[in-house]
Amino acid sequence: MFHLRQIRLSCFVPLLAVLAGVAGAQTEVSERVIVRTAKPYKKLVAAIQARGGVVTNQYRYVDAIAATILRASLSAIGSAPAVASVEKDLGIRVPTTVDLSGLGPLGAAAQAEVAADSVRTLTASEIAGATPAAYSVNNTLMAVEPLHNAGLQGQGIIVAVIDSGIRPGFPHINDTVIGGEDLSAMGAGTRISATTDMGRSCPA
C-alpha cells in the first residue's frame, strides 16, 4: 500500500504543475483581430501596444487595423471610444474538395458528373501539336473576336491575382506571369521574379 500511495503522489505532483502551467498560459493567450476604427489610428495603436498587443496592419483604403491582442485586454480595447467593432481575423482555408453530400439528390447528380469527367490539361508537346480551328468557348460566348481583330488583346494590361502564388514554367501561363509578391512569407513590397517558385504546386 505504501508503495502505491507513493506512486499516486508522484503522479499528482507533475499533474498539478501542468495544470498550473495551463492556467498561467491562459492569461497570455492572444487573438488575431481586425479592429474597425476611424483614422487617425495613432491613439488606438498606442493603446494596443501599451497592453502588450502588436499592430500588424494599418489599412489606408478602409477604416481598420489588424492586430494581435492579448485575450485579457480584448474587452478594454473593444470598449475604447474610437473602436466601432472588433472581429476575429479569419483564417480562410482553400477547399481541396467540394462537399456535395449535404445536397441530397442534387449532390448525388453532381457527384456522378464529377465521376464521369476526366478533365486533364494537355502536355506542352501536345499543346505545340494542337491546331484549334475554332476560337475558344469563352471568347465565342463573349464575342471577343472583333476586338482581337481590331488589335485589342490586352497589351500593357496587368491582372493581379491574389491567391497561392505561381508555379513557374506552367505551360498555360508561361511568358504571361511577370512576377509577384509573397505576402504570406515576407509581407507586401518585395518583388519576386517570374521564375521563382512560390512554393505551391497549384498555379493561381
Binding site: I34, N57, Y61, A130, Q155, A160, V161, H172, E181, L183
Partner: protein, 158 residues
C-alpha cells in the same frame, strides 16, 4: 481565363462539353477515346499576370493578409498612374478566387476594399464561393457592392 491559354480535355459525357456543344459548337473539337478538346484562349492573351501570394504553406489565408494584398494592388496602380513606371504596375483587373462567409455583405472590410479597388479603376473579379444553392452562401469579398462575382453553372464544377 483572361491572360492565359490552355487546351483542356473533357469526357464527351461532361455537362461542360454538352453546354459548349449547344452554345458554341465550333469551340469543341472531338479528340480521341470519347474525349473532347476545348481550346481556351484568354480574352486578353497579351495581358500579364502579377501574382500576390496570401495563402501560406498550409493553404490558410488570413483575412488581414488578404486585405493587405488588396491594398497593395491599389498602391501599385496608384504608383503607375502617378508616372512611377519603375515601382508601379498598370493593374486593371484583380482576380480573387478566395473568400469566406459573411453576415455583413457590403460592410465587411474586405468588401469595402473591393469598392476602393473599383474606385481606383481596377475591376475586382471575385469567386462567389463553392457553397449553395442556399441563402448566405456568397462569400466575402464577392458580397461587395463593387464586386464582379463569378459563380458556377454546375454543382460539380464549382
Amino acid at each position: 481565363m483572361i491572360a492565359s491559354h490552355a487546351w483542356l480535355l473533357f469526357s464527351n459525357t461532361s455537362t461542360f462539353v454538352k453546354a459548349i456543344s449547344t452554345y458554341a459548337p465550333e469551340a469543341a473539337q472531338p479528340y480521341s477515346e470519347g474525349l473532347t478538346l476545348v481550346p481556351l484562349f484568354g480574352a486578353a492573351p497579351s495581358a500579364k499576370i502579377y501574382a500576390l501570394r496570401v495563402l501560406g504553406t498550409s493553404n490558410i489565408g488570413w483575412k488581414s493578409k488578404i486585405m493587405e494584398a488588396m491594398e497593395r494592388v491599389i498602391e501599385l496602380r496608384k504608383l503607375y498612374d502617378s508616372g512611377d513606371s519603375q515601382n508601379g504596375l498598370n493593374i486593371r483587373v484583380c482576380n480573387m478566387s478566395i473568400g469566406g462567409a459573411t453576415l455583413a455583405s457590403g460592410l465587411d472590410p474586405q468588401d469595402q476594399l473591393v469598392d476602393a479597388m473599383l474606385a481606383h479603376d481596377i475591376v475586382p473579379v471575385i469567386s462567389a464561393s463553392n457553397a449553395g444553392p442556399a441563402t448566405l452562401t456568397v462569400g466575402s469579398p464577392a458580397s461587395a457592392n463593387g464586386a464582379l462575382a463569378v459563380g458556377a453553372a454546375s454543382l460539380a464544377h464549382n
